[in-house]
Each structure stands twice: as structure tokens, then as C-alpha cells.
């Protein structure tokens, strides 16, 4: 009987204080589903795929069937309708095992699908978002150029306005999903005299004549994520494929990257957490000087530092995801999340290799791969230095 009286009061307290760190049942299920897939399927062949730099076609297909591709797209457009928290949880779990596969997902979901859903016309959504929401087609985001990596204001790729269509010429570099992706978002300069206000974003089908792919880049890490240079030579893009008003492209790209950073931060988190889990496991199994590594304070303290950093990153990422889900501004938070998560992933994976010692340096034990993968999270979708510019600019704003 007592509980019946107390219950309504309790509920009203909950309403008063909305701060809540608890995951919903769905969040937990999504995390478990991603964990099960990663541990059961991705782990089987991740070493081989890394060695051979093979695109994980089978996994892309399976993850599509499970609904991870397009998971945040509204059900109206065939997506999963999930929040960014869910996406972060999925990215972390997949990246613990195979961040190369996870990045395919990240680019698709948080850059391309999000961009088209947020800024696309109903016709563009019908034509491009629907197949991406179901995962039938994968997206790629073409921003970086040989001479404009982090500095996106100086686009050399040109989109000449021809009335009914635009004519694209130029080269994009380090493009993730360039091969696995079918739907490109291409950022190009239409009005060079206007600087970055002259830039446009276009939705481009990969099969458009005039588009060619350079060979798969032979990378240090994330080797089975397909990265290519993409060349445009007189590629015709219909006018209706332009996103937003004329000159909206730069702002579009920056907005997309705000959310993209959450995905990459979650990826870095997963890489770090995966390496840490392996280090913890190893230190509990391996003995040195007559006792388990975990019983050596030098190792235990390393683990404590790793645990702290991972948890810090997780909180920052989830906070930025929560802001995004609740319609609050999240650009600075996501820059902080990405900066912190990427740098800590580098530190944590390096320490994990150190704890595993000789085992850590050989491929079979995974942590050396995770360390190689961590490095890229400090570079792509805005280097750590760029994130500092974003953060400090916001802090110093008058």
C-alpha cells in the first residue's frame, strides 16, 4: 500500500529534474545488437580484411539487413528513426572490433543521410534518401581535396552553372566510401569570386559519366574502408540535385560535419574501449615477476587512466548526441567530443600496446591495429587542430 502513495510523489520529482543518465531499454538492445554483431561476425575476419585491405561487402549487406545503415533516417524515408544516442552506442560497439567497417556506416549515416534529410527537397529525398534510408544505396561525402584538406574554404573543384545542369571538374581526395558508395555529396566551387559563399553541394550518382576513381589508397589503418581519389571531368549534374540555395554548400558542409564529428568521436571511443578491454583482459591473464600484471601497480594505474579517459570521452560524446537529439546547438560540443576522443584513443591504444608488450606489437592481438586506426580519428572529418579552432572561436566569440 505504501508504494501506491509514494509513487505519484516520486513521479513528480522525476518531472522536476529531467537530467537522466539512464539508457532506455531500446538503447541497451541496440548496443547489445551491435556488440553481438561485432563480436560474433566482424571479429572473425577483421585481421584478414585489414591485411588484404578488402572492403567488407558481406558485413555491409548484413548491417544493412539489421538496419544500421540509415538507422537515424526517419521511418517516413525508410529509415530506423533512431536517435543519435543509439547511433553512438552502435558506433562504439562496432568500432571496438572493426572501425573500418564502422566508418562506412558513419559517413553514410551522419554526413550523407543526415544532410539530405535535413536540407534536401522532397524530390531529392524521394530519389536519394529513400534508398539510403533502407541501406540499399550507400552515401559518400566528397569534400577534401589535394590542396584543401582541412581548409574547406578553398575548393578547387569547380561546378560551372550551365543553366539546366552544372558541369563538375576537379579532384577529390581521401574519399571514404568512394567505391562502396553510390550516392555522392560533392562540394564544389561555383562562384570563385565569392569565396566560400560561392560553394555549392550536389547530390551526384556515382555512375554519372565523367567520374573516375583512382586506385584504393593503401593506408596505415582503417585499411578495409574504401578510400579513393575521385576525378570529375565534365561531369553533368542536374540543377535539381543542388542542395539548398545557390552558395549554401559551405554552410551545408560545416553543418553536416558538426554531426559527423559525433560519429567519428564514437568511433574513436570504440577503438579506445576495445583496446582497453583487451589490455584489462590480458593483465588479468598474464603473469610477470610471479604475479598477474593487474597486480602490478604500474599496470593497474595505467588501466585506471585509460578507464578515466574512455569514460570522459563517452560522457562528452553522449552529451553532444543528447544536445543534437534535443534540438540544442551541438557544434562546439561535438568538436570537443571529437578532439578529446581522438586524442585519448591515440593515448589509450598506445598504452594498450605497451601493456601487451611484444604481443601488443603483433597483429594477432588486435591492439596494434586499433592503434593504427586511432591515428586516423585525429585526422579525418577535421583534424584535432581544426577542432581546437572551432572550440576556441566559439569561446572567444564576442
Amino acid at each position: 500500500m505504501t508504494s501506491a502513495i509514494i509513487f505519484p510523489i516520486f513521479v513528480s520529482f522525476i518531472n522536476l529534474y529531467t537530467m537522466n543518465f539512464e539508457f532506455s531499454e531500446e538503447h541497451k538492445m541496440i548496443r547489445q545488437a551491435a556488440r553481438d554483431y561485432a563480436q560474433r561476425e566482424l571479429l572473425k575476419d577483421v585481421l584478414e580484411r585489414d591485411a588484404k585491405a578488402e572492403i567488407p561487402w558481406d558485413h555491409i549487406k548484413n548491417l544493412t539487413e539489421l538496419g544500421f545503415f540509415g538507422m537515424m533516417v526517419s521511418p517516413e524515408w525508410g529509415g530506423g528513426g533512431m536517435d543519435t544516442i543509439s547511433y553512438v552506442l552502435a558506433m562504439e560497439e562496432l568500432s571496438k572490433v572493426d572501425s573500418a567497417t564502422a566508418v562506412i556506416l558513419s559517413v553514410h549515416n551522419s554526413l550523407v543521410c543526415w544532410g539530405v534529410e535535413k536540407y534536401g527537397t522532397p524530390e531529392q529525398k524521394e530519389k536519394f534518401l529513400r534508398p539510403m534510408g533502407s541501406g540499399e544505396k550507400i552515401g559518400a561525402f566528397l569534400l577534401s581535396e589535394p590542396e584543401a584538406g582541412s581548409d574547406a574554404t578553398h575548393q578547387r573543384t569547380v561546378a560551372e552553372d550551365k543553366g539546366d545542369y552544372y558541369l563538375l571538374n576537379g579532384t577529390k581526395n581521401w574519399i571514404s566510401n568512394a567505391n562502396s558508395g553510390q550516392i555522392y555529396i560533392v562540394i564544389a566551387q561555383t562562384h570563385p569570386e565569392k569565396g566560400h559563399h560561392g560553394i555549392n553541394a550536389f547530390i551526384v550518382d556515382k555512375d554519372t559519366p565523367g567520374i573516375t576513381l583512382a586506385p584504393h589508397e593503401d593506408k596505415m589503418g582503417m585499411r578495409s574502408s574504401d578510400t579513393h581519389s575521385v576525378m570529375f571531368s565534365e561531369a553533368k549534374v542536374p540543377r535539381e540535385n543542388r542542395i539548398g540555395e545557390d552558395g549554401f554548400g559551405f554552410k551545408f558542409a560545416m553543418k553536416a560535419l558538426e554531426g559527423g564529428r559525433i560519429g567519428i568521436a564514437a568511433q574513436a571511443l570504440g577503438i579506445a574501449a576495445g583496446a582497453m578491454e583487451r589490455a584489462v583482459q590480458y593483465s588479468k591473464e598474464r603473469k610477470a615477476f610471479g604475479k598477474y600484471l593487474s597486480h602490478h601497480q604500474a599496470i593497474a594505474f595505467k588501466l585506471a587512466d585509460m578507464g578515466l579517459k574512455v569514460e570522459n570521452a563517452r560522457n562528452l560524446i553522449l552529451k553532444s548526441a543528447w544536445h543534437k537529439d534535443n534540438g540544442l546547438s551541438y557544434g562546439t560540443l561535438s568538436a570537443m567530443a571529437k578532439l578529446y576522443a581522438a586524442d585519448m584513443a591515440m593515448e589509450v591504444t598506445t598504452e594498450a600496446v605497451q601493456i601487451l608488450g611484444g604481443y601488443g606489437y603483433v597483429k594477432e592481438y588486435h591492439v596494434e591495429r586499433l592503434m593504427r586506426e586511432a591515428k586516423l580519428t585525429q585526422i579525418y572529418e577535421g583534424t584535432s587542430e581544426i577542432q581546437k579552432i572551432i572550440i576556441s572561436r566559439e569561446m572567444l566569440r564576442d
Binding site: E25, K28, M29, I30, A33, G67, F68, G80
Partner: protein, 249 residues
């Protein structure tokens, strides 16, 4: 045709087993709960059968005897693909209670095929399926490693000591399934997870089945002595140890 899959809510199989209250209770603190692995395989097979049935299997229902706390596990089964769920609101004190409650429900809501896992990974009863069949006066087949339905004809592979048998059976019946019934449990899709709350989970009152057994006290096995390491260049020593010390060769 309707299939019922009975599921238990059990601790994750990697759970560190601890007891509390003077070793009279399993310590559930920080335990992650899952669908009992054999039940999950049973569910997977039920869904495969439904999908391949061309509509002749209209529904797969899951049922659990348990308190409200087991609902996340039930919803996981809905996320995996069960059409609806029933929770019989009772503490699953022993197999007699669970089977008694299930039988009470099934008597009023008949199914053509009832699937149970052969064991549960917590208290290892291996009892509920057989008891349920007996209470309902239905045929049962145990140790089922394959179950097929073709033109309403049911064929079952049952593992026996030293081989296997193929059986046919009439419906309704109870199949008590083991490893092999499905390749591996399904991972729920994002859509399935989002749908889970929209599917019916009917809570029904317990009929008041009585337990006939009770756990008095738990104990952990004594710690094992350290492993004797033998050098790989000295296999003969291992054979001598097995012969003279362990006396098993």
C-alpha cells in the same frame, strides 16, 4: 498454425556466480539478463518456420513466467521477431511452478507447437518442457536438434545416445530443443527493436501453482589446485603423470 516459445530470463552466461544472504540466494547485483540460450535458439527456429511457411504458421508467441523485471528480456524476444508475448506474473520458484503456470495458460489458449529449451543456464532443471507436456497430456519429444514442417507434416530429429532418430508427431505437441535446432540466435534488427514496444505483451495473473522444491543453500566448487606444467620436450613425463599420479591411463 500457432507456435508458442517458452522463454526464461537468465543471467548472461559470462556472469560471475556469487551468492548472498548466507548463501541462500543468487546475487543478482549487476547481472545482465538474457534470454536463456536454448530458448533463444527455439525462438529463432520458430521464426524461421513461420517465415518459410507461406502463411500457414500465423503467429509466434513467446511466454515467460516471471516478475515485471523479466520484461526487458521478453521485449528482446519481440525485437527478434515474436509477434506477441505473454508474461504470467509469478516468481518462477521452481520447475513445478513454471510448468504449472504455463499449463494453466495453454489450456485456455491452445497452440499447435510448444517449444521449450532443453535446459536453463541458471538452475539447470531440464524439467519444464517435459512437465508441461505431462500436465497438458500432450506428446513430447526431447533433445530435438531439427524440426521441420512440410504440408503440415512434422518431422523431428532427436539426438539419442549414440546417434539420432527421425520422428513424426501429431499436433499439438511439445518439442524440447537443444543445440542444432537453429544455427545461432538472431540479432534483432533496428526496426525490430523499435517495434518491440508496439507489440502486445499481455500480463496475465498467476494461477497459483505451488513449488515442490526449494533451494536451501548454494555453494561454490572448491578452488582448483594449480596446473602442473610439463615441458613440451618431455611428453613422456606427462604420460607418466597421467599413469602414476592421476591414474587415468
Amino acid at each position: 498454425m500457432k507456435i508458442l516459445v517458452c522463454i526464461s530470463n537468465v543471467p548472461d552466461t559470462t556472469t560471475k556466480i556469487r551468492f548472498t544472504d548466507d548463501d541462500t540466494r543468487f546475487d543478482t547485483a549487476s547481472v545482465q539478463w538474457i534470454i536463456n540460450p536454448w530458448d533463444e535458439l527455439a525462438l529463432t527456429r520458430a521464426l524461421e518456420l513461420k517465415e518459410g511457411s507461406g502463411g500457414s504458421i500465423e503467429k509466434v508467441t513467446v511466454v515467460n513466467v516471471g516478475p515485471k523485471e523479466s520484461e526487458p528480456t521478453i521485449r528482446k524476444a519481440l525485437a527478434i521477431g515474436a509477434d506477441d508475448a505473454v508474461r504470467i506474473d509469478a516468481e518462477p520458484l521452481d520447475a513445478h511452478v513454471v510448468a504449472g503456470e504455463l499449463a494453466g495458460h495453454i489450456r485456455n489458449n491452445p497452440y499447435d507447437i510448444v517449444l521449450c529449451g532443453i535446459d536453463s543456464s541458471d538452475y539447470n532443471g531440464s524439467l519444464v518442457g517435459g512437465m508441461l507436456a505431462e500436465l497438458l497430456d500432450l506428446p513430447s519429444v526431447s533433445s530435438v536438434s531439427k524440426l521441420n514442417i512440410e504440408n503440415d507434416e512434422i518431422t523431428i530429429n532427436r539426438e539419442i545416445d549414440g546417434g539420432s532418430e527421425i520422428l513424426s508427431t501429431e499436433t499439438p505437441f511439445v518439442a524440447i530443443v537443444q543445440k542444432g535446432i537453429a544455427l545461432e540466435p538472431r540479432i534483432p534488427s533496428m526496426r525490430g527493436i523499435m517495434m518491440a514496444r508496439k507489440k502486445p505483451l499481455n500480463v496475465v495473473e498467476a494461477a497459483g501453482a505451488e513449488p515442490l522444491t526449494e533451494f536451501v543453500r548454494f555453494e561454490l566448487p572448491p578452488p582448483k589446485a594449480a596446473c602442473k606444467m610439463v615441458d613440451e620436450e618431455n611428453i613422456r613425463e606427462l604420460v607418466a603423470l597421467l599413469h602414476n599420479e592421476a591414474k587415468v591411463l
